[in-house]
């Protein structure tokens, strides 16, 4: 038989004709999917490893995870495929989490300082000795004033144990870290719709305006949200537009990256709103029904925010703004996401509010693919609970007298309140915090504070390692790592609410104790027989017993076994099963488990309405509490705000002379920048948290230094090329680092990442491998693999402490710097911060507070405001 002569040309022809037949052929092979996890085997023993579910805590996203244990050792971590939010995925940080546990730099015993503060001389002491000394100091402080006991935490996932401890002592002097994180975002959102965060429904949306979030790498809910961004982008063909000063990986993944001048996202958002309202693209019914303003009011209010006005401020062309406004308003569903980009500025709260207005204007709120409320779950606290302290501290993590709207505190100004005598401290506790590294001013401000034994007479650090802050402690109480302790968890990190636990995978190493046990032991030492009334609040045997008190009586969870269910599964509820092909959670029939939307439109039941009254404005009140809102003849639950509406006009802001309507204020010192001045911004790497990960081997190998990003145009002006040393000088200090010349940054901006440049935190973070004395490095064969000798340069020492007068957030991205080629005496890694100049900068920043002399100047539109005397400290003090 003659074989047909098949050339490429002929078989292409055949192929075209055979398409139909090919499609009809049965497909017996399917692309192989990897196991989704949940099982693991020892490569040597081939035995199945013990799998224990937990909630990750390398960063604060709280991913569901599983630890595998072989012969008593944690050998592998991976995502929990039964977790509806994170769906079996765990980021690089999470995967590396076990290195924390076995880190030879861990503190495993109580340590007492024996040299000068910060000198690094310690003595190991017993728990009995440590607790006795701490209790004695607390006892003396309590006699003077409980509020002289301060506790500042960096990351509190204890489920209420820290507050319980301080309230047991009768102290209101509690501080968080939120003002160096995203507090102005929270304060921008809360008065308008209740919660302090949003959940953009990325997987179902068609269009995203992303203002200053690097959600694929670092921002809040990075893991669960980045999965949904990818789904939306690939499966749903969504468009994403990112406004950022820097070409982050999220910006690079976007359809458009729009470099925007720092702090002007709000102006762009207002201008987009202007176009939407001008061209009647808004959702009038939604606005008129569900907000406290009318479309007409908004049209009038937005009139002045033209694209041309925004272009002058932001550098974003008016034509681009016009186009994006039309795209956003006419593509349904659409959503907005923001993170620190808009919020970390002098008036960050205004920026956040302006961005949030876009989904409100277009009615994209609580829609599938829209801008949704967060979904979380709570849990009860063990009884009895200590009462709130009777006497208010000068400031706490909810309140500062100069920042009455800053509901998440202004903790980064704490040193100045102590320096200037407004806050007195006898005993300072720190927990999972490191402001000497993470806060503005860093060692120049916080180091100065902790060195001073008159200002901080006794300093107790509950810590796992000696970092930059703990190095100044008088007593170190060794805390457990997250794989060794119990903690309750829930995070609104997807549209499906869940409860979870962290549980000990292995017993705590050395003599470390979990936080709540340490706090209990301190209280029991202070009140051994219960006669002081403190011990009653710390009535639990161990961490597990405490968890039972949280979890065993939660309706629904109780029915399936309470804590025992969580110990087995790690998370509750289990919504369905993860489909290995789609990565989606599906029910028994294979259909995707749908999220609930329009939560505000849930109707109140007859029993809810029994005994309720309806006010003329539609507010439904029962037992003196607003429970819903009547709209179009129906009784809805509404939004979780006091008036059950979206408060576009925030009347509380007006009480303090701030504009209650969406607005924008430019950073005054940005307006007067000279040609050779630039704005310094910082950012986070995808493998590092602020300060705790530099000692984690896998992560340090991936990223360990942070050259300064600078635009080629700018670099050319100062004669700098990639790799050159540069001197970066702000009004409070200077540093010397390396330049990385890239088009991926705004020409008026330089960016230096955080997470590098440690001077404490163990041998790998500090790279003190070859220094004398020869501690470290030598005992760890892995450290032979340390092929890098550059640990980077940390920028916070040259960033002054400035707070948003509304939200209290640190203005991380407002620092004006001069960048020059390094001089002959400049060495890589040189850093200097002048304490007095930091103090001056702080005082200058206070001029923008509602009591400051620049407040009125910045708010001419609020000329009718009677002044601070009429609004003295009406802020909530809780």
């Amino acid at each position: 038989m003659d074989m047909p002569k098949v050339t490429r040309r002929t078989f292409l022809k055949v192929s075209a004709a055979a398409g139909g037949a090919a499609a009809a052929a049965p497909r017996l092979l399917q692309a192989m999917e990897n196991e989704l996890g949940g099982r693991d085997y020892g490569p040597v023993t081939m035995a199945q490893r013990q799998a224990i579910p937990y909630t990750c805590h390398v960063c604060n996203i709280q991913d569901g995870a599983i630890a595998y244990v072989e012969n008593g050792r944690i050998v592998k971590l991976e995502g929990n495929p039964e977790h509806v939010s994170t769906r079996g995925r765990l980021c690089a940080k999470g995967n590396a989490g076990m290195w924390y546990t076995y880190n030879p730099d861990r503190v495993l015993y109580p340590l007492k300082r024996v040299g000068a503060r910060g000198e690094g001389k310690w003595k190991r002491i017993t728990w009995e000795e440590a607790l006795t000394e701490v209790a004695q100091r607390l006892d003396a402080a309590l006699k003077e004033d409980p509020n002289t006991i301060m506790l500042k935490w960096g990351r509190d996932r204890t489920g209420g144990a820290l507050i319980r401890f301080m309230h047991t002592l009768g102290s209101d002097n509690t501080m968080n870290h939120t003002s160096v994180c995203e507090s102005s975002k929270k304060v921008g959102l809360e008065p308008t719709w209740g919660p302090d965060i949003e959940t953009p429904d990325f997987s179902k949306t068609k269009y995203v305006l992303n203002f200053g979030s690097n959600v694929l790498e670092a921002s809040y809910f990075h893991n669960p949200l980045s999965q949904r961004v990818t789904e939306g982008r690939i499966d749903n063909h969504m468009k994403i537009v990112t406004f950022d000063v820097r070409l982050s990986n999220t910006a690079g993944y976007s359809d458009e990256w729009i470099p925007v001048f720092p702090g002007t996202d709000g102006a762009v958002a207002l201008a987009i709103g202007h176009v939407i309202l001008r061209d009647d693209l808004q959702d009038s019914e939604f606005i008129n029904t569900w907000t406290n303003v009318t479309v007409e009011e908004l049209k009038e209010h937005y009139k002045s925010f033209t694209p041309e006005w925004a272009e002058k401020i932001s550098g974003v062309p008016a034509a681009t703004i016009e186009r994006l406004a039309h795209e956003f308003a006419t593509t349904k569903p659409a959503t907005v996401f923001t993170y620190r980009g808009p919020a970390k500025h002098l008036y960050g709260s205004y920026n956040e509010k302006a961005c949030m207005m876009l989904p409100i204007l277009t009615g994209n709120v609580e829609k599938a693919g829209g801008y949704c409320l967060p979904r979380g779950m709570g849990w009860p606290q063990p009884n009895p609970k200590p009462p709130k302290p009777a006497k208010h501290a000068y400031a706490n993590h909810h309140h500062h007298p100069l920042f009455p709207l800053a509901s998440h505190g202004v903790s980064h100004l704490t040193p100045f309140d102590i320096f200037e005598g407004r806050t007195k401290v006898n005993v300072y506790f720190t927990y999972m915090d490191n402001p000497v590294y993470t806060n503005p001013g860093a060692q120049a401000v916080w180091g100065q504070l902790f060195k001073d034994e008159k200002l901080i007479p006794f300093f107790v650090s509950i810590s796992t390692v000696i970092g930059e802050e703990t190095a100044y402690a008088d007593i170190i109480l060794p805390d457990c790592m997250f794989l060794e302790r119990w903690e309750p968890e829930s995070m609104p990190n997807s549209l499906w609410p869940w409860l979870g636990i962290r549980q000990p995978i292995i017993a705590p190493l050395g003599e470390t104790r979990e936080t709540r046990v340490i706090l209990r032991d301190i209280i029991h030492k202070l009140d051994p027989d219960g006669s002081r009334g403190m011990k009653q609040y710390w009535n639990f045997k161990d961490g597990e017993d405490y968890m039972r008190q949280h979890f065993d009586n939660i309706p629904g969870l109780k029915d399936v076994g309470g804590l025992d269910f969580l110990k087995k599964k790690g998370v509750w509820p289990i919504y369905g099963k993860l489909d290995s092909r789609t990565g989606k959670v599906v029910d028994k029939t294979g259909r995707e488990i749908k999220a609930e939307y329009e939560l505000y439109k849930k109707e109140l039941s007859d029993s809810d309405m029994m005994g309720a009254t309806i006010e003329p404005n539609g507010l439904i009140v029962k037992n003196g509490k607003a429970i819903g809102i009547r709209r179009n003849g129906k009784n809805y639950v509404g939004f979780p705000t006091p008036n059950r509406l979206l408060n576009v006009r925030v009347d509380e802001w007006a009480k303090y002379g701030f504009n209650p309507m969406p607005t924008f204020k430019r950073v005054p010192w940005h307006e007067t920048m000279k040609d050779d001045e630039l704005v310094l911004t910082t950012y986070k790497f995808n493998v590092h948290v602020q300060s705790r990960t530099a000692s984690v081997k896998w992560l340090a190998e991936i990223v360990h230094n942070n050259p300064m990003w600078i635009n080629p145009e700018t670099a050319k002006k100062i004669g700098v090329k990639t790799g050159d040393l540069v001197r970066v000088e702000s009004k409070v200090g200077y540093l010397v680092t390396k330049a990385y010349v890239t088009e991926g940054i705004h020409p008026k901006v330089v960016a230096i990442a955080t997470g590098c440049g440690h001077w404490e935190y163990g041998r790998l973070a500090t790279l003190k491998l070859n220094e004398k004395p020869q501690f470290g490095g030598t005992e760890d064969p892995d450290l032979k693999n340390v092929w890098w000798d550059d640990k980077g340069v940390h920028p916070n020492i040259i960033i002054p402490a400035i707070a948003d007068p509304i939200g209290g957030s640190q203005a991380w991205y407002d620092t004006v710097v001069r960048v020059t080629k390094a001089g002959p005496n400049d060495k890589y890694g040189d850093v200097f911060g002048d304490f007095q100049k930091h103090l001056e900068a702080y005082r200058e920043g206070l001029r923008f507070t509602y009591k400051g002399d620049l407040h009125r100047k910045m708010h001419p539109e609020m000329a009718h405001w009677p002044g601070p005397e009429q609004s003295q400290d009406q802020g909530q003090h809780s």
């Binding site: 030879p104 503190v107 003595k123 000696i466 090329k721 340390v786």
Partner: protein
């Protein structure tokens, strides 16, 4: 006692290298030798397992022991010999913490020395060995790991004392079994790390007490290994410097620049690129 053991070891070392004459010792002499060795293990265990206690300090500062230590070349400075008890105990406690129990130190723990992490396989292996021989690890002043130096040394001391008992009771089989266990324990654990570790302590210690105890540990370990006729590699090495792994790398070791601009530019200008060419992985 101390010098006797070290002398015996010296003789034995010589005998291994010149095995012509093997002295015959009586069971009583062998038992005494086991007890003497056990005493040294216990001394070193006490030094490394926890901070020096007042009792231990008093014992070590006794004229007799100082003299015996001096005979084998262990000589402390005035910071140990002339300091008042209370101040010395404080200074030693601080030194112990700096060296062995805080961030940046080097814990005397086999897992850390050989794997760079706490509680790795050696911890579980030695715990199992202890269990097989009827021991459990109890908490001293502080909780510690089963593969902590002091615990491993204590284990050998216990076995040596059992061996001495066996010898005194004429139970040669048990004594031989115990000797084998000790040898195996050295081959699998102590021998892998304590010599180099002792050198590291010697170099890093600021106080003469730990400096000399580091020397003593290394010297004693070398003698024991030689006496048992073991050939075991010191994997610890107590190296002073971290060495970069030689050979080609798949990245530019002259980071931080993540792209190849500098190297390419330098090469273009004839300045010699520092960028390693990636392997062709095909």
């Amino acid at each position: 006692m101390l010098s006797e053991v070290l002398l015996r070891n010296d003789r034995e070392t010589a005998e291994i290298t010149q095995p012509a004459v093997v002295p015959q010792t009586s069971p009583e002499e062998q038992a005494a030798e086991c007890r003497a060795r056990a005493a040294i293990y216990r001394l070193l265990a006490a030094v490394f397992v926890e901070e020096v206690t007042p009792d231990l300090l008093q014992a070590i500062r006794s004229e007799a022991l100082l003299a015996q230590l001096a005979e084998v070349g262990i000589r402390f400075d005035d910071d140990f010999t002339a300091a008042p008890d209370a101040a010395l105990l404080e200074a030693l406690a601080a030194e112990y913490t700096a060296l062995f129990a805080c961030t940046g130190g080097f814990p005397p723990v086999e897992s850390v020395r050989l794997y760079g992490l706490f509680q790795q396989e050696p911890a579980f292996q030695v715990a199992e060995t202890y269990r097989q021989h009827g021991f459990v690890l109890k908490k001293g002043k502080f909780a510690t790991f089963p593969d902590q130096l002091g615990v491993e040394l204590s284990f050998v001391a216990e076995l040596l004392e059992r061996a001495a008992d066996a010898l005194e009771n004429g139970d040669v089989a048990t004594q031989r079994k115990l000797e084998k266990t000790i040898k195996r324990f050295w081959a699998q654990h102590l021998g892998l790390w304590v010599r180099g570790y002792g050198r590291l302590v010697q170099r890093a210690a600021a106080h003469s007490f730990y400096r000399e105890m580091g020397r003593f540990l290394t010297g004693f370990a070398e003698e024991e290994i030689a006496a048992m006729g073991l050939k075991v590699e010191d994997r610890d090495q107590g190296k002073l410097e971290v060495e970069k792994i030689p050979g080609k790398v798949e990245f530019n070791p002259d980071e931080p620049i993540c792209n190849a601009c500098v190297g390419s530019m330098a090469a273009a200008k004839g300045q010699g690129a520092t960028v390693s060419v990636l392997h062709d992985l095909r």
